[in-house]
Symmetry: C2
Subunit: 271 residues, 2 copies
Amino acid sequence: MITSDSAIAEYAGFARHLSQIAGRIILPHFRAVLAVENKETGARFDPVTIADREAERAMREEITRVYPSHAIFGEEHGVTAGRESLTWILDPIDGTRAFIIGQLHWGVLIALNNGERPIVGLMHQPYTGETVLGSRMGAQWSRDAECNAIKTRSCARIEDAIVCATDPAMFKRNGEREAFDAIARRSKMRRFGGDCYSYCLLAAGLIDLVIEAALKPYDIQPLIPIIEAAGGVVTSWSGKPAYAGGQCIAAGDRDLHRLALEVLSGAANDS
Amino acid sequence: MITSDSAIAEYAGFARHLSQIAGRIILPHFRAVLAVENKETGARFDPVTIADREAERAMREEITRVYPSHAIFGEEHGVTAGRESLTWILDPIDGTRAFIIGQLHWGVLIALNNGERPIVGLMHQPYTGETVLGSRMGAQWSRDAECNAIKTRSCARIEDAIVCATDPAMFKRNGEREAFDAIARRSKMRRFGGDCYSYCLLAAGLIDLVIEAALKPYDIQPLIPIIEAAGGVVTSWSGKPAYAGGQCIAAGDRDLHRLALEVLSGAANDS
């Protein structure tokens, strides 16, 4: 599977274009009265908004129009098969809970997967106008006319690390919470409440670790090319590729990643 | 202590002016490499930035220039006595931890206290350009040219409530965490990571409860006029005025406030 630099640049530009389409649809629903449906019948609260579904539908239409042979895998509307191995992975609103209560750490997530791994990844926050983009051509954080290359920072010790997770309630399996807490307790600072935004802060060298569980493929694949292009590493808790979601760890520093895995691997469910 | 409507309007405008001064100083330091000092010598991590100190100094200079008889109480530089009972309460960056890791839920907090209670309150987020302002003249959320009146929403049951707190680690005293958890478990949703921003979301009718502990007077006083003008209520966990900080609860609905106090009052330390 070889994709040329010019193709990567084209797809990265198209990902930006898609995120603008999604953002324009989503933004009027942000902090408006929302018709929140409940995706699951069980007790867990999993809000799905009109914005989520309409934004994904518009992105799918645009992909089908421009790249009719590409496949699509979206959070809301599932899989559309393609005639080649390229698949667009769409999460129109990552951080739905943050979105519905008016917080700012949510975003449109888009990845292009080449059949093996994500090769272009993007996070877009329509309210702040920020876009974070990564591919083997590099990682950039842009807002309005500004566009800056980003890179992760060095941090070789857990004791010096700032560690984030979206919510302690995501650690549901045996030993997950204990493993997270073992790192958080040793760290310099631990913050909850980030969703996709935390991974972008890590890529920009503002935090050192994101440790999460129970992720979906579309939650993590768009963030992997960003973090890798910025110099960081994303794996499962046992050090394997994180493309499938589940238990994920992102680190800005490879030594820190190794040290964190020593703690997490005992609670890994894919080892 | 009587303050006329025209005086309130003038002070509210001045609070906006102060927040712009602070924002212009703070913003260049946001997501830049920060010289983070450690305010305490103990193990607790309490970052203070150059931005924090410079922004407060500039606000104090402007207050002294325009209202030389007013008193000032700021997070960074303490108390300056005045010749009348009006005191400006300043917290240049509420949510310092969020600020230093590049998150967005932090803000400039400003209150005017009349010797008894805060009568004007303001939150300003310089990166997003948002300002939330409250006084007996009303509560507004503004951004760029947009300015909307805000009000809290009805929510009479804990089971229907969305409850926020900045961090579970803020509940340090006996029974505090248990009391918070007792409400959070019954609630529809519980989110961590908000600082001042959560109180503004409550005033705007997007969440229902903020329950916190270990607050300082300058953390909460600027938010009280906003929430009260929007129709909500802020008290200590025993239902007393929350001007001194400590254990605070904000509710958008008075019935919900009463129900939450029934749970929290057992862990109240001012009853």
